[in-house]
Subunit: 351 residues, 2 copies
Amino acid sequence: MRFFDEQEDMRPTVHDIAAEAGVSLATVDRVLNARPGVRTKTREKVEKAVTKLGYVRDVAAANLAKGRVYPFTFILPQNDNAFMRGLHDAVEQAVERGPIERTQIDIVDVPAFDAEALAAAIDAARAKAPAGIALVAIESAPVIAAVAQLKQAGIPVVTLVSDLQDGERDHYAGVDNRAAGRTAATLLGRFLGERRGTVGVLAGSLSVRDHQNRFEGFSEVMSERFAHLDVLAPMEGRDDAALAQKLVEDALTSHPDMIGLYSLGAGNRGLLKALDPAHDSGREIVTVAHELSEHARAALERGTFDAVLNQDAGHEVRSAIRVLKAKADGLPVIDGQERIRIDIFIKDNLP
Amino acid sequence: MRFFDEQEDMRPTVHDIAAEAGVSLATVDRVLNARPGVRTKTREKVEKAVTKLGYVRDVAAANLAKGRVYPFTFILPQNDNAFMRGLHDAVEQAVERGPIERTQIDIVDVPAFDAEALAAAIDAARAKAPAGIALVAIESAPVIAAVAQLKQAGIPVVTLVSDLQDGERDHYAGVDNRAAGRTAATLLGRFLGERRGTVGVLAGSLSVRDHQNRFEGFSEVMSERFAHLDVLAPMEGRDDAALAQKLVEDALTSHPDMIGLYSLGAGNRGLLKALDPAHDSGREIVTVAHELSEHARAALERGTFDAVLNQDAGHEVRSAIRVLKAKADGLPVIDGQERIRIDIFIKDNLP
DNA sequence: CTGTTAGCGCATTCAA
DNA sequence: TTGAATGCGCTAACAG
């Protein structure tokens, strides 16, 4: 009868590997971390022991021993809308989790929609040689150049929320904005049903890639499936409440047949100021907007908004950090696990 | 000039606290873990030092030192549909993460829809005195009794996916099924627009609480907002493909005016076998179903399904484990952070 | 009631 | 090329 010679459900440790392979801890460690200075023969012995015992490294213990911290820099636009504030909050929460996740995150705020300022901030961040940089991209020459310098310096870059061209950065932590636009179009078109009329589009700025992509996706589906609806040229509200309000008010007046509206930018306050009176007066304008702020939430509840698409800023930030860590360690990133979902909210499934 | 007397950005450790408070490590540990045997005076000194230095415990190191493992039991129904398989997979993944998360999870499979078997499994699990039990509940006397015994034995219980009455269990890790039903009704009603006709409902079994709740939520909204639609009495397919297919085929025949269908159970294979031919022949039946299986996904893509509501089994399992750990340690649970979302998927926002 | 001390699993000097 | 010894931040015997 054998009682004690099985390891039971205790997972093997480096000690077990060392014993099994007949070498010391240090050697095991060298093999495990692919460090040089081990004879091939010895290496093989260790590797055999590892697979035999089914060893899995205890990452927590490893981190503890390493005492390593990852210095990251997050460059965020000083954009005064609920989504960007939420993003900022999410990064601040990450800062607070820093000690426990062994990250040391610097937040750098830059003026919104300002490519030069962003590029300058990137350069400044590079000078401090962090282990990784995350930024909300603006697709323009100075930014692209600054990011290229990061790559040259070997600093991993992930774009957050708004992307650059493929290849310029290491990873994009954000939603597929073309798909988001398509989703909005389908919801709008289907909610409108048989009704005919015009559909307005309110953007922040079409020079930002995410807004541009949303508009493209939206237009695609509108022409593919809802060609009977008349989509107006997009208005650009620059995420400015007053401007957005005016644009929408004017559009409502000049297009009495407007029955639908897609607001693809952030910042819904101005929009709602224009839309609520119309809604209250009984005019039915099916509206799909982005980002589940408190305003958006309330608008869904009172019926001014019909659907809200959302990207979870917390998910995006956590994903960005995971990816930056992986890149910093030269580890592969499992793309499927980092995909950010497009959440659909209607009145009934509000969280 | 002061150079070295600031702790810089190093986070304080127990040693720093001990030094600051002028006590030993052990005492600090006692205070931090709210263990008895410390004079109030001493306790206060330590607490002062903690807040002064802004100490945050390194959970990873703590776990490492504790070497504690949480033995949990998950009792799952042997239900052969994609959702339950997904749930099973999610728990198996949790089992694999066990070593690194310091959990030791036992999976117990029980026949589906069998209250006696479930109760027996609960009793058996209790005998092994795990640190917590998760189960997919069936609301029936033997189960309720068995769960009550768990409470008496001081074993935390969380219900998974399908709930019991409040108070019987410590926590419910699943979606608000009434809200899910409401969501389905709104989507169905709005997608139908001006069309008039009857709407069918296919359930698994209305004796399961989650299905019951979905149906209630659905009915509420249908009568509140879409009273012009005629909702048929629910069919009970017992999540059996052949039965579901037959029920739906019969309904389609006997109700030529059927223009909508809400499938609130799991298991979409049989449903799709009945629905696809109708769809192919040009009959437009707006359909909302649950759980994003491969079948459901394909059905969305080809247009047989119009929307799919989903609960993320992975989220549910991870949440259940977090809660079980917290309960086992007597820690509070932040409910807001454990809320499981109702995901809406249409063709365009598939992940 | 309080302090000393020995690890948890791993990484890393420093010697050999 | 390899090994012994030390410590990361924390917990838990075991002494006092």
